[in-house]
Symmetry: C2
Subunit: 221 residues, 2 copies
DNA sequence: CCGGATTTGTTCGTATGTATG
DNA sequence: CCATACATACGAACAAATCCG
């Protein structure tokens, strides 16, 4: 009898359900305002209501679900004003993490970053279709988080992750411009270069400028 | 039969327990590393484990409690490196909120702010003792949040609130320098003036400088 | 390496609050 | 305004995982 391929140690139903619901929200299977009933989800996942309930409450605190006591839970997606706020925060926080990362990044972390970038470029070579769009999103996110994690500022990185979660639905669904992959590739190679020469000041400046550009793009949608 | 003095509408046990535990952590009744067992707390509060459990999970996401699956929950207090991170984030985020607040603040909100400041100065008149230290903290926090709320940037304000929660234990317990009340009074009057003339740029600059000062103070402790 | 004690994770049943007729 | 329907909030018991001897 073979063992399970996936190590479920310390993985509670609650966590699995949370991740699954997040996927559903991100890829559009659940739309804004969609009602999330505990019973219904419990039946779908084949568990009782409690782990569903806990997952919903976690997602509420993360800003992806709105829970009203005794009424119920609905999918929450940020309004355009709220998305703007998230971008303003990202423009301040991500350059901060990147600046520290440039000081502290190790050879090993830099190599890991280069490996992620190679994988990302592979994904971008093939045509952009809905199937690999999610993979590009995930890999791009890995790339950015690999930079921020090098700052060793765990609290800050955790917060940045939350901000990304909040706008994930937007970034995965919105149409990429045709030159998006090329632009991303150029930006990322800049980041890698600036990190390798430990130029935190320039990195933080470039990153902020790029983020401001991206923010503008999402504002017109 | 008289009605309850406190309106408990939409106030779940979970929320009450969460607030109470936060108070315990803030005023030092619970120390770092203190074990928080669900059934023990359930007995203390006279409820079942479920609301206690949910409160603990909320506090985990807010950064005040550490929960390890199948092991348990302990009180978490930020290390000095983590406190530093929080101050770096506050130095970026609070000036941002304040700048927008200066543009958008209404006469009514400004009057409310002045009223809070009067109450705060009253509290500061009497000698600083442990009993009113907490009240001074709360009122000062009300003052700052009244400013940030005027920005109407709810996501940002919520995040700032979380940051304050994370370092509350430090600010309430640490010794005030004798001239702290006078310094705070001066700073606050500056803020009120700059808000009333809608000078967001200067406000954000002054606020950041003050925050950097405060950060230095807590770093030596 | 294994078994008991302990604590959390989950299930199911009941109570309570909300909204609609 | 009250009754009913519905979904969540809570309580008690069982199952699973961890730790220690």
């Amino acid at each position: 009898m073979p063992n399970s391929t996936i190590k479920l140690q310390n993985m509670r139903m609650k966590d699995l359900i949370e991740k699954e619901l997040m996927n559903w929200i991100m890829d559009g299977r659940l739309d804004k305002g969609q009602r999330l009933r505990e019973d219904e989800l419990a039946e779908i996942f084949g568990v009782s209501r409690i782990p569903v309930r806990e997952a919903l409450h976690v997602l509420e605190l993360k800003g992806l679900v709105e829970v009203t006591p005794y009424i119920g839970a609905t999918v929450r997606q940020l309004s355009s004003s709220e998305v703007k706020q998230v971008y303003l925060m990202r423009c301040l926080l991500e350059p901060l993490a990147a600046e520290h990362a440039a000081e502290l990044i190790t050879k090993k972390e830099l190599n890991n970053l280069k490996r992620i970038q190679e994988e990302l470029e592979c994904l971008c070579c093939v045509e952009h279709n809905p199937e690999n769009r999610r993979m590009v999103y995930d890999k791009n996110r890995d790339f950015h988080m690999a930079i921020y994690n090098a700052s060793k500022m765990d609290i800050l990185v955790n917060l940045i992750n939350n901000l990304w979660d909040n706008i994930a639905f937007l970034r995965i669904r919105s149409a990429y411009s045709p030159d998006y992959p090329e632009m991303m590739k150029r930006e990322h190679r800049d980041y890698i270069h600036l990190l390798s020469v430990h130029d935190g000041k320039t990195l933080s400046k470039v990153l902020r400028e790029n983020l401001e550009q991206h923010a503008k793009f999402f504002q017109v949608i």
